[in-house]
């Protein structure tokens, strides 16, 4: 009973953070490394992008392990949300709930606002900005910066790499510009 509660309830940051380090260590120990955005390049290569673009012309078979890893991630998501569902609503801070309500985003206790992240909203202007433009910028930026949150904020900074510090500063400059300067414009549309 105790065990089921631990596996169902959300984990505090001081459990989650070190557990993510464990994932990084296990991947290094297995002979690879922690970097999720590389899988996007690998999938482009499998899709044949290497035929006309040198950036995708590499032996993707050596990257199969990472695709298996993210497939595991999907399965982990299924287990965490359907086998051990969180019995409580997400404990979002009151000030965030208040800020978002000013943008007409209702917080219903789930992990993402379904009014934006749903198939119905995909064809609306707002939905396509959040999902299609958002995804595009993440993919483009991750490759330009040679890594994403896992590769830079966790692995790169753990190795005390200056390039990762510059990248993470960039993540925040971009995130703050979007949140404080561009969000108010998007929600006027």
């Amino acid at each position: 009973m105790m065990m089921i509660e631990i596996l169902s309830n959300p984990w505090p940051w001081y459990v989650s953070g070190p557990m993510i380090t464990l994932v990084m260590f296990l991947l290094i120990w297995a002979g690879e490394g922690f970097g999720v955005s590389s899988t996007l390049r690998t999938i482009c290569s499998i899709g044949g992008a290497g035929k006309h673009c040198g950036f995708f012309n590499f032996d993707w078979r050596a990257q199969k392990w990472n695709l298996v890893f993210v497939l595991g991630g999907v399965i982990g998501g299924v287990i965490a949300s359907f086998v051990f569902p969180n019995p409580q609503p997400l404990a979002l801070s009151a000030s965030t709930i208040n800020d978002l309500s000013k943008l007409n985003i209702n917080f219903d206790g789930s992990i993402a606002p379904t009014e934006i992240f749903s198939w119905e909203s995909l064809l609306t202007l707002k939905g396509s900005i959040f999902m299609i433009l958002g995804g595009f910028l993440v993919g483009f930026g991750a490759r330009w910066a040679n890594g994403c949150t896992s590769g830079h904020a966790i692995s790169g900074l753990s190795k005390l790499q200056l390039t990762s510090l510059i990248t993470v500063i960039g993540f925040f400059i971009g995130g703050l510009i979007m949140t404080f300067l561009i969000y108010p414009l998007i929600f006027k549309l």
Partner: protein, 137 residues
């Protein structure tokens, strides 16, 4: 058989990320608005432990399970590449509420529409590949 370990580590990753709520668009907004310590605690504690792990690997000369030496190759230094790439990524992160790991894990959480976010990220990666020689690095 070789791949089963990666599948299991991936399952662990998906489980942790879901339970940490780091896959939540709301949590990312809370982070960029500096309204909770939660995300900073996750990334910060992962980082502190990560620094210790990397130093231990170096000091104790820990080998991989295959007995190979673990090396950490340095990346070529550049400000333009990492800063501009990072900013582009950050703009997208604040919109989609998900970096690449969480995109996959959210699909597992039943948010099937994140498949579209992944497809868009693939398109972004592809367009970067086509345009990379025209961008500062």
């Amino acid at each position: 058989m070789k791949y089963i370990k990666y599948l299991l580590i991936g399952v662990l990753f998906g489980f942790i990320m879901t339970k940490s709520e780091a896959i939540s668009w709301f949590r990312i907004q809370e982070m960029f608005r500096f309204q909770s310590f939660h995300m900073y605690g996750i990334i910060g504690s992962a980082l502190v432990f990560g620094i210790v792990v990397v130093q231990l690997i170096k000091l104790k000369n820990i080998k991989t399970i295959n007995g190979d030496v673990i090396s950490f190759p340095k990346k070529k230094f550049s400000v333009a590449r990492y800063l501009l790439g990072g900013i582009t990524f950050g703009l997208g992160w604040a919109l989609s509420g998900a970096c690449p790991g969480p995109m996959y894990i959210l699909v597992g959480n039943g948010f099937s529409v994140y498949i579209v976010v992944i497809l868009s990220a693939l398109l972004g990666t592809y367009v970067y590949g086509l345009q990379k020689d025209r961008l500062p690095h």
